[in-house]
Each structure stands twice: as C-alpha cells, then as structure tokens.
Amino acid sequence: MSQIQVEHLVKEYKRKKNPEGLIASAKSMFRPEIETMQAVDNVNFAIEKGEAVGYVGPNGSGKSTTIKMLCGILKPTTGSVRVNGLDPFHDRMKNNKNIGVVFGNRSVLWWDVPVIESFRLFQTLYEIPEKRFKENLEKFTEIMDIAPLLSVPERQLSLGQKMRCNIAAAFLHDPQIVYLDEPTIGLDTESKASIRRCISKINEEEKTTFIITSHDFQDIESLCRRIILINHGKIVLDDNMQSVKQKFNQKKQIQFEMEQNPWHNGEEFICQGVRVMGTTSHSLKLEYDLEQTDSMKIMTAVAKGSEIQDVNISGRDIEEIIRDIIRKDNHIKRSSDVM
C-alpha cells in the first residue's frame, strides 16, 4: 500500500451567500441564504514513500482543502484518506507525530521569544529524545543556515529568515511526510532560491516524502518530480514532471537574426509543420511542431535562403503549460455548463 492513499475524496462547504446592498444585508441577518460548494470533488491519488509531489492549482481550486484533509485538519465529506494506513482525522494525534507542516502564511514559532525556545518547546511537544534533538538541531541549523538566528526573537527576523526557521522546526521530530504550503510566498528571489536549495538537500538526504503546494512554478519545477494539478476541485493532471513537459510541449519557437530576410515582403517561408509568427527585414520568427519537424530541418531550410547570424530556440516552461491546461479545462467546463 502507498504511503498516502486518497480515494474518492469529496469536501463540501456550506456558506452564507453574501448579499449585495443594504436591504438584502438587512434581510440576510434574519434568514441567510445558504449555498453548497464542492471544494474537492472526487479526488484520487496515491503517493509513495520518498516522493516529492507538487500539488498545484489556481486560487480556490481546492488544493489547500485537500492538504488540510491530508493533515487531518478537515474532515472529508465523503471518501477516504489513508496516511501510513491511518485516518488522519480520526487518528490525528498518532498521525501528527509522523508529519511536519510548513505554513507559508503563518508561522508556528513564538513571536516574542528566541527561536531556540520555540524549538525547545517542540522538543517537549513531539517528545524528541535529547540526543536526537541535538543531532537534528545541529543538522538542520546547518542546512538552513540559521545558527546565528537561534538566539533572536522571531519578531526581529526577516521573512526569509522566519521561513527558514519554520522549515527547520518542521523537521526536528524526523517526520516521514512534510507538507509545504506555499513555502516561498512573499519572499524575494534570493531567499526563494536559498530555501529551494535547502529543501532539495533535505529531500536528498532524508528521503522524506514531500508534498508542496505553491503558486511559484519554479518551486515546483526545482523541487518536485511529480505534479498533480487540480482545478475546480477535480484532478486535471497527475504525471511525471518530465513527461508533462514532453507531452504538452510539442510546440517550440525559433527566432533567426540574419543579414537580409528574403521572406520579408516577398514569398512566404514554407516548411512542413511550421507557422510564421513574424518577420522583419532582419529577423524571422517561427513556431514549429515537434512531431512533424525539428530545429535542424528548419535551420537548414533557412540557411539555404540567407546567412544566419543568430538563432534562439525557446520552449514553453511548466508554468505556461499548466496555464494552458487550466485554460482548456475551464473552457470545457464552461461549454458543458452551457449544454
């Protein structure tokens, strides 16, 4: 059995409809209108030990709700979650010993006391033996590079430093699974990069299972080998990072700089599987389909007509691919709604 097993998971929310205008508001205080919303709608997946999975989706797609059900914070409406064979909601205490959670938008440390004091309390909380605690403390302060921060109260730390301390805190009790919810939210590029480096290092060394949600696709790309995409509460894609790139990245763009562009204001550049994106007197921009042709063929064809000075080939990155998939999914949903 997989370490995390999710079957037919559904979470419904009932919420008060927000009325518009004064009179409707006044009415709603006596009789609020309730609407039901499916935040997570029949989700299935399994995650093996040691995997690093990116769980992504647009705002309100249900990704945080899923993570919260995996952690045992929320009770599923129907369906089942098994983590190490346990039901995280009903056996929460037991499950909690095996997991670590990093919340990008809220710190788990105590604002007013030195970081080490918070760590000490975690030692008591997770009942970590002194020897193990010391080892882990040493190891993770080194990886996260927070040794000089331990004696500083959290309120004096920068956002990036805070996050590094929070991540270290999540690993002190040797969790088997770590959930990282938006670990780089609000950080600058440099802090983001350093946090990514640290997380990858831990993943390599500890073989911990990682589940990461993030808006930043660079997080996902550099940390995860597998990606699960959720939209409107349904899983749209669950695949290997590499194969996603290959499958959905059939089109690439190629741009030539040349002495003189013979296809500008003259006959059109024609080649199988290629579309002209734009021309000027010195440049030519093409889009081609990987299944029908490749860059060498195109270059040969172009070189025949003119002298190439510079070539630039670009594919779509994972973010664009995902955005595309979501756009298509939304389109399908909308058109089926109409029917």
Binding site: C71, I99, L125
Partner: protein, 264 residues
C-alpha cells in the same frame, strides 16, 4: 499516566515561554494589573455605593458583600492567569491559527491555553486575597480548618465553573463569524454573581444556579461562609463544576470537529 506526565512537561514548557514573554513587556504587566483591578472594581463600586446609600442590601452587610466580591474576583484572576486564552478561541479560529495546533501531537485545547498566560493576574489576585482577609476579619468569622478546606474546594470548583463557562461561550465562535460580543454578554452575566442573588426575583436566582451557575462563583460560597445557608453547598458546588466542565469539554470537541479552516 505517561500521557499525564507529558502534559505536565508541556505545560511547564508553555509557562516558561509565558514568563519569557512577560519579561519582554514590563509596561504591559502594569497595564494588565490596572485593567484587571478596574474591570472588577467597576461592578463592585456600583454595589458598594448602592449598599452604602441603603445601608446594606437586605440582610447583607457591606463586609459580606466585600467577601462575595473577593471570592468572585480571585476565581476570575486565576482564570486570567492560566485559562485566559479561552477568550482567544474566536481569534484563533478566524485567523486559521487552529490549523497549526491541529497538526501537532497534543491536545489542541492545552495548546490553546498554553499560548497565552497572564501571570500578572496573580499579583492583582493578592489584592483580592487581601480584601478577603479584611472582610473575614471584619465579619468576626472564626477561621477554622474546615473553612480553609472549603476555600480550597471553592478555588478549584469556582475556577472550573467560571473558566468553563467562558470556554462554552467562546466555543460558539466555531459557528458564529464573530463572537466577541458573546463574550461581553457572558461577562455581563457574571456581574450578577457579584450581587446578593436574593435581591433578584426567583427566576433569576434559578437561572444563575441551574443555567449559568455563576451563583457558585460568589453568592453561594459567600452565603455559606456568612452563615446564611446550610452545608449542602459543599457537595452542590463540585456537582455544578463537573456539569460545566463536561459541557465545556463537549462544546470544544464539537467545535473542533466542525472546524472549517479558513484560507485558500
């Protein structure tokens, strides 16, 4: 047993952090003590002024009223020192802070209480203890072992009832969007406990005995000490404490069960 030891250690850990925070904000300590004293005093001043004008309330002398007030205030001070974060339930729920507690391997309730201590309240408690001693002396009561034992029983049961009721009402925050005003309501209700319940119509007396048993926080024990009522209070008080404790426990657990975390 092992679990109990764990919670004792955990509680000590939280207290340590509480003390560290306390030392960081000395100005706050002073403000807290003043605010505690004033908050209790505002109601007290009312009844003492009225009692002074009328020469006591019914068969309650001013000193007996002082005694009742001090009992009520001591229990509140204990609650403030150790169980004050019951008042934070609403905030924790709205800010999604409960998420953090729910992913840790310890009772979220203990974690909640441990988040916030007001050891300052122990200092203002000394003032009330002083008032208690003062009124006992003025009433010419005979201080016996039995009386001290009763006071000890009162401290435990009274705190349980007082703080338990706060937990019950603050737990409503799990279902209501903003429950701050409920807290105000409960606190206003506790005001009744500072006055001789015999002043109010029977319906009120019953309400503060059986529905919101704030009567056990001040009126009944004071009446017993003043010799205005029989010894039945000795077993009634723990009964009430257990009932309130049980309901508080249930409410909290129902609340956590129905907790829908906020956020995206």
């Amino acid at each position: 047993m092992r679990r109990l030891l764990f919670y004792v250690r955990l509680w000590k850990g939280y207290m340590r952090i509480g003390f560290l925070i306390l030392t960081q904000y000395p100005a706050d300590t002073v403000i807290w003590i003043i605010s505690m004293l004033l908050r209790e005093a505002s109601g007290f001043l009312g009844v003492v002024t009225i009692a002074a004008v009328a020469g006591g309330l019914g068969n309650w002398s001013i000193y007996e009223i002082c005694l009742m007030f001090s009992l009520c205030a001591i229990v509140e001070a204990i609650g403030q020192a150790f169980f004050d974060n019951a008042w934070g339930i609403g905030h924790q729920v709205r800010m999604g802070r409960l998420d953090v507690m729910l992913v840790r391997p310890a009772s979220p309730f203990i974690q909640l209480l441990g988040e916030c201590f007001h050891f300052q309240a122990l200092i203002s408690m000394m003032v009330y203890v002083g008032l208690l001693v003062f009124s006992v002396l003025k009433m010419n009561l005979h201080v016996s072992g039995g009386m001290l034992l009763f006071l000890a029983e009162f401290l435990v049961c009274g705190t349980m009832i007082n703080s338990g009721l706060y937990v019950i009402f603050n737990s409503l925050n799990f279902w209501l969007v903003q429950g701050n005003d409920i807290a105000v309501f409960v606190q206003t209700c506790r005001e009744f406990a500072k006055y001789p319940l015999s002043v109010f119509p029977l319906l009120f007396r019953q309400f503060f005995t059986f529905v919101l048993p704030f009567g056990f926080v001040g009126y009944y024990p004071a009446a017993y000490l003043a010799g205005k009522m029989g010894a039945s209070i000795v077993w009634q008080m723990p009964m009430a404490a257990l009932c309130v404790g049980g309901i508080a426990f249930t409410m909290w657990h129902l609340g956590v069960g129905s907790y829908n975390s906020t956020g995206t």
